[in-house]
C-alpha cells in the first residue's frame, strides 16, 4: 500500500496501529500488531488470557511502553510520554469488576471525584443522561460497596464516559457480569457510538462478536485474523464439517469438526471459535487423545444430595434453600453471575462452610459432624479457580503432595503420577513449575491432582475461564471421558453461558435463589432455536417480571 493511497483513505480513520509490540522482560505479550479503527466503529478483541489483548489496549491508551508507532488522528506517538497529549480524548476502563471504584464513596461522590480528577466542568445534563442510561439515577446516594457486580460495572463505564472520550477502550467489561447487565452495558456503548464515539472492546466471550463491527482474533501474542464476524466465518467454511469425531488430525467442538483434509462428512456453517481451531491446525498442532481406562465402580445413582441448603452472612442471604442432586456419570453445570451464590454453595458442598440450614448427604450418608466432613473431603476432588496449586513446587512435587495427603503409599503415588501424566498428556512437563507451562497444561494437571485419590465427585470452579479455545475444547472432551469411563459425577461452574451446552444438566442461581434446574436437552426443547446465552436472558427476564 503506497503512502499516497493511505492518505486518501485515512479520512475517517481515527486510530492506526503499526507494528506494535509489547514485552515484559523476556516475555513477548504482543508481537507486531497492526490494524486501524474508523470513526464511530466498534472494534472487538477476542482471545484467551495472555493472548495479548490487554497489552495492546494498554499500548494504545499510553500506559505501557511499546515498540512501533500509533497514530491517533494525525498525531503520532511512540511512547506513553508522547501519548499524554491525547489522553483527554481517550478513556480506558481496565479489567476487573469495578476496580476503579472506591467502596466507601457514593455514586454521586464518584462523579465529583472523577470530574475533579479530570479537571472537568460540571455538566448536569450529560451526567444525568449517563446516570439514567445506566439505570443508576435513583441510587446516587448509595455507597459503591453496596452495589451489585453489574451495577458496579455500569458505574465504572459511565465514569469512563464522563470526559466525553472520542475513543473508549474497555478491557473485558463483561466478564463475570450477569446477562442483563451485560446487555445494558452494550446498550450504553451503542448509544455513545451513535453520538460519534469509537470503541475498542476486548472480550473472552465469542458470542459478543456479533455486537462488534469488526473483530481481531488474538492467540499466543499474535493477531491471527481480522475482519467482520461473517468474513472470518466464511474464511473457514471449507474446513467445517457436521458432527464430532475423535481424530488426531481434526478438532471437534460444539457439534462441529474442523479439518484441513477433506472428510466425507457433510459440511456445515462454522462458528467463530472455528477460526482458532483452523489456525491451530495450520500451525500443525494436533488434538490430544485422552485414554482413560473404564472402571466399574459400585455407586448409588445419586451421589450427592442437598436439601434446602442455606447460608447467611449477617443479614445477607448468600444461598436461600437450595436443593440439588448429583447423579452418577453426569456433568452438572452451575451457572450464575458474580455474587449469585455459586462459590458459597460449592463451599457448603465441599464441607468448607458450616451449613446454616438444610442437610447434605454423600453416598446416602448424612454429613453432619467434623469427622463426617473429613470423610467427605476424602471422597471429593476439587479444582479451584485459576488452578491455584503450589507455585513453588514442580508439577510432580505437587501431585506427590496431594497423593500423600490422601494417604496413598509411595508406590501407589508414583504409579498414579505416571498414569495420569500420560493419560492427560503432560508427562513431559512433570519437572516444570506451574507458571512455566501453558494454562491448558495447568488445567489438566490440576485435574490430575484432584483425581489422585479416586474421588466420586469432582468439583471444578471456573476451570475454563481465560483458557484458550483449543485447550477448552480438549478440557471438555476430557471431562466427558472422565464421567463416562469412571462413572463419577462432575460439578462445574462457569460464567460462559455458552458452555452450558456441554453439560448434561444445568442449575442457574440468581441472588442466592435457584432459578433453573433442568436437563440441557429439555431447555432446548422449551426454547427452540435459541442459544444458551439467549435462553438465560429469557429466563432472567421471566424471573424479573415475577
Amino acid at each position: 500500500m503506497s503512502s499516497k493511497f493511505q492518505a486518501l483513505d485515512s479520512k475517517n480513520i481515527l486510530l492506526e496501529v503499526k507494528n506494535v509490540s509489547v514485552s515484559y522482560g523476556k516475555k513477548i505479550a504482543i508481537k507486531n500488531a497492526s490494524f486501524s479503527l474508523k470513526e464511530k466503529e466498534i472494534l472487538g478483541f477476542i482471545g484467551a488470557d495472555g493472548a495479548g489483548k490487554s497489552s495492546t489496549l494498554h499500548a494504545i491508551a499510553g500506559v505501557v511502553s511499546f515498540d512501533g508507532e500509533i497514530i491517533y488522528k494525525n498525531y503520532v506517538y511512540y511512547s506513553p510520554k508522547e501519548a499524554e497529549k491525547i489522553k483527554n480524548e481517550i478513556s480506558l476502563m481496565p479489567q476487573g469488576l469495578g476496580l476503579v471504584l472506591y467502596d466507601f464513596l457514593t455514586i454521586k461522590e464518584h462523579f465529583d471525584f472523577f470530574r475533579d480528577l479530570r479537571g472537568l466542568k460540571k455538566a448536569m445534563e450529560y451526567e444525568t443522561k449517563l446516570l439514567k442510561m445506566a439505570g443508576l439515577y435513583e441510587f446516587q446516594d448509595r455507597l459503591a460497596v453496596n452495589l451489585s457486580g453489574g451495577m458496579r460495572q455500569k458505574l465504572s463505564l459511565i465514569l469512563s464516559l464522563l470526559p466525553r472520550p472520542k475513543l473508549l477502550i474497555l478491557d473485558e467489561p463483561t466478564t463475570g457480569v450477569d446477562p442483563i447487565s451485560r446487555a445494558e452495558l452494550w446498550d450504553i456503548v451503542n448509544e455513545m457510538r451513535n453520538n460519534g464515539m469509537s470503541a475498542i472492546i476486548s472480550t473472552a466471550y465469542m458470542s459478543e462478536a456479533s455486537k462488534m463491527d469488526r473483530i481481531l482474533l488474538f492467540d499466543e501474542g499474535e493477531i491471527i485474523a481480522k475482519g467482520t464476524s461473517e468474513e472470518l466465518i466464511a474464511d473457514i467454511k471449507d474446513y467445517t464439517y457436521e458432527g464430532e469425531m475423535e481424530s488426531k488430525e481434526c478438532f471437534s467442538f460444539n457439534k462441529r469438526t474442523y479439518c484441513l483434509n477433506s472428510l466425507s462428512l457433510k459440511k456445515t456453517t462454522p462458528t467463530l471459535e472455528g477460526v482458532f481451531f483452523v489456525n491451530a491446525l495450520k500451525k500443525s498442532k494436533k488434538p490430544i487423545i485422552f485414554e482413560i481406562p473404564k472402571k466399574n465402580l459400585q455407586m448409588p445413582e445419586i451421589i450427592v444430595k442437598a436439601n434446602c441448603l442455606t447460608k447467611k452472612f449477617g443479614k445477607f442471604i448468600a444461598d436461600n434453600c437450595i436443593n440439588l442432586e448429583f447423579k452418577k456419570g453426569e456433568i452438572l453445570g452451575l451457572l450464575g453471575a458474580n455474587g449469585a451464590g455459586k462459590t458459597t454453595l460449592i463451599k457448603m458442598l465441599l464441607g468448607l462452610y458450616p451449613i446454616d440450614k438444610g442437610e447434605l448427604y454423600l453416598l446416602n450418608k448424612r454429613i453432619k459432624s467434623y469427622e463426617d466432613r473429613i470423610e467427605l473431603k476424602s471422597k471429593i476432588g476439587y479444582v479451584s479457580q485459576k488452578f491455584s496449586l503450589y507455585k513453588d513446587l514442580t508439577i510432580k512435587e505437587n501431585l506427590d503432595y496431594f497423593a500423600k495427603m490422601h494417604g496413598l503409599s509411595v508406590n501407589e503415588t508414583n504409579k498414579k503420577i505416571k498414569d495420569y501424566s500420560e493419560m492427560l498428556g503432560f508427562s513431559e512437563y512433570l519437572n516444570a513449575f506451574p507458571k512455566e507451562v501453558p494454562l491448558g497444561i495447568n488445567q489438566r494437571f490440576s485435574v490430575a491432582a484432584a483425581l489422585m485419590h479416586e474421588p466420586v465427585v469432582l468439583f471444578l470452579d471456573e476451570p475454563t475461564s481465560g483458557v484458550d479455545t483449543v485447550a477448552r475444547s480438549a478440557f471438555w472432551r476430557l471431562l466427558r471421558k472422565l464421567k463416562e469411563n469412571l462413572g463419577i459425577s462432575i460439578l462445574i461452574t462457569t460464567h460462559y453461558m455458552s458452555e452450558a451446552e456441554y453439560c448434561d444438566r444445568v442449575v442457574v442461581l440468581k441472588r442466592g435463589i435457584k432459578i433453573v434446574d433442568d436437563e440441557v436437552e429439555k431447555l432446548h426443547k422449551k426454547y427452540p432455536g435459541l442459544d444458551f446465552e439467549e435462553i438465560f436472558l429469557e429466563i432472567y427476564k421471566e424471573k424479573n417480571e415475577n
Binding site: 465441599l350 473429613i374 476439587y382 479451584s384 503450589y390 507455585k391 513453588d392 513446587l393 495427603m405 494417604g407
Partner: protein
C-alpha cells in the same frame, strides 16, 4: 506420613524462595555480627576539648589520661566561649573547663570544682562518658589521698565486652522477628496464593496441618540459631559459654512455640504477606522493649516491670544470659524454663483457637 508430606512441602517452598533464604541467613549471621561490632555503649572516639586557665602540670596530667580508644586527642580551646561554640557545632562532645582556682583549690584540699559540658544528644553515650570522666578524675582524687578507694571487679564479662552482650541481644530480637514472620507467612501465603481452600480440603484434621506447618518453621529457626551460635557467637566473637548449650536449645524451642502462638493470631487476621509485615512490627517492638534485651528490666519503671512478665522474650533472654555468662545449673534455670513453657502453652492455645476458626 501425612505430616512428613507437609514438612517436605514447606521445606521445598522455603528453599525455593531464594530471597527469603538469603534474608534469613543475613539475619542470623551478618546482622548479628554488625550488631555486636557496631553498637557500642562504652565511649569510643569521643571528641573532647578543654580550656586550661589554670595552666598547671596537674591539668596536663589529667588531660593526658583521656586517650584512645575511648577518646580522641583532646583539643585545647582558648576560651570557654570557643569551647561552647565547638560543642554547638558538633566539633567536640565533651568540654572541660579548668578555671584559675582549680589547681589552687585542689592542692589546698578544699573542694575543687571542674566545669564539664556534655553534648547530650546521644543521651546514653553522654551518660556513660560522664561516668568515665568521673572515674578518671577520681583516680586523681585517690592520688591525692582521699580516705577511701574503690576496687571494681566485673563478674561474668570481665572486660565488659559489649559484643558478647549485644550479639546475643540481637540474636534474640531476630529470633522473635523471624519466628513471627515465618510462622505467620506459612499460613498467609496459602491465602495469598489462593491455595487456602485446597489446604482445607485435605482429608486431615486441621490440628495436624497447623502443627506440622509450625513445626516446619520452628525447625528452620533452630537451624538458623545453630548457624548463628556456631559462626558468629562462638566463631567470630569467641563468646564463652559457662552453662549447658542443651538448655539453650530447649528454651529456644519453647520460645519458638510461644512466638508461634502470636504468629497464629497474626496469620488469622492477615490477608496478605504485607499485612503480616505490618502487624509483626507493631507486635514485635513492645515484645523486645519489655524483654530487657536492651535495657535491664530492673531499671524500668515499676509498672513497665510488671508488664515485662508478659513478654515471652524476657524469660528467654534471662535464661540465655544465665546459660552463657553465669553458667547456671538446671535448677537455677527452672523458673525461666517453667515460665516459658507456660507462655508457650497459653499463647499457642490462643493462636490455635484463633486460626482454628478458619479451618
Amino acid at each position: 506420613m501425612k505430616m512428613s508430606a507437609i514438612l517436605k512441602k514447606e521445606f521445598l517452598v522455603f528453599f525455593r524462595n531464594i530471597g527469603l533464604v538469603v534474608f534469613i541467613l543475613y539475619a542470623f549471621t551478618l546482622d548479628i555480627y554488625i550488631a555486636g561490632k557496631g553498637i557500642k555503649v562504652t565511649p569510643r572516639n569521643v571528641p573532647i576539648g578543654y580550656v586550661n586557665e589554670a595552666d598547671n602540670l596537674i591539668v596536663n596530667k589529667i588531660i593526658s589520661s583521656f586517650h584512645k580508644p575511648e577518646f580522641k586527642k583532646p583539643k585545647m580551646f582558648l576560651s570557654e566561649k570557643a569551647l561552647k561554640e565547638a560543642i554547638y557545632n558538633k566539633k567536640i562532645m565533651v568540654g572541660i573547663v579548668f578555671d584559675k582556682e582549680f589547681v589552687k583549690n585542689l592542692l589546698s584540699k578544699k573542694e575543687a570544682k571542674l566545669q564539664v559540658l556534655v553534648d547530650a544528644t546521644a543521651a546514653a553515650q553522654a551518660e556513660v562518658t560522664l561516668i568515665y570522666l568521673q572515674n578518671i578524675l577520681m583516680k586523681f582524687g585517690n592520688n591525692l589521698k582521699l580516705p577511701a578507694t574503690i576496687d571494681i571487679i566485673k563478674l561474668f564479662n570481665p572486660n565488659s565486652n559489649t559484643k558478647w552482650f549485644m550479639s546475643l541481644s540481637e540474636l534474640m530480637s531476630n529470633i522473635t522477628m523471624l519466628g513471627l514472620v515465618l510462622i505467620a507467612v506459612v499460613f498467609v501465603r496459602e491465602k495469598e496464593n489462593g491455595t487456602w481452600d485446597i489446604m482445607l480440603l485435605m482429608p486431615v484434621r486441621g490440628s495436624l496441618i497447623i502443627f506440622s506447618k509450625i513445626l516446619s518453621q520452628v525447625l528452620i529457626l533452630m537451624v538458623g540459631i545453630t548457624i548463628s551460635i556456631g559462626l558468629i557467637v562462638f566463631g567470630a566473637f569467641d563468646t564463652p559459654i559457662n552453662g549447658n548449650l542443651f538448655y539453650f536449645y530447649l528454651i529456644s524451642f519453647l520460645f519458638a512455640f510461644a512466638i508461634g502462638g502470636i504468629a497464629l493470631v497474626i496469620a488469622s487476621v492477615s490477608k496478605s504477606v504485607l499485612e503480616v509485615g505490618h502487624l509483626t512490627i507493631v507486635i514485635m517492638l513492645p515484645l523486645i522493649f519489655l524483654s530487657g534485651a536492651w535495657t535491664p528490666i530492673s531499671s524500668m519503671s515499676p509498672f513497665i516491670q510488671y508488664l515485662s512478665y508478659l513478654s515471652p522474650l524476657r524469660y528467654y533472654i534471662e535464661a540465655t544470659q544465665d546459660i552463657f555468662f553465669r553458667g547456671s545449673s538446671f535448677m537455677d534455670l527452672l523458673p525461666y524454663l517453667g515460665a516459658e513453657l507456660l507462655m508457650a502453652l497459653v499463647l499457642f492455645y490462643i493462636g490455635y483457637k484463633k486460626i482454628g476458626r478458619l479451618f
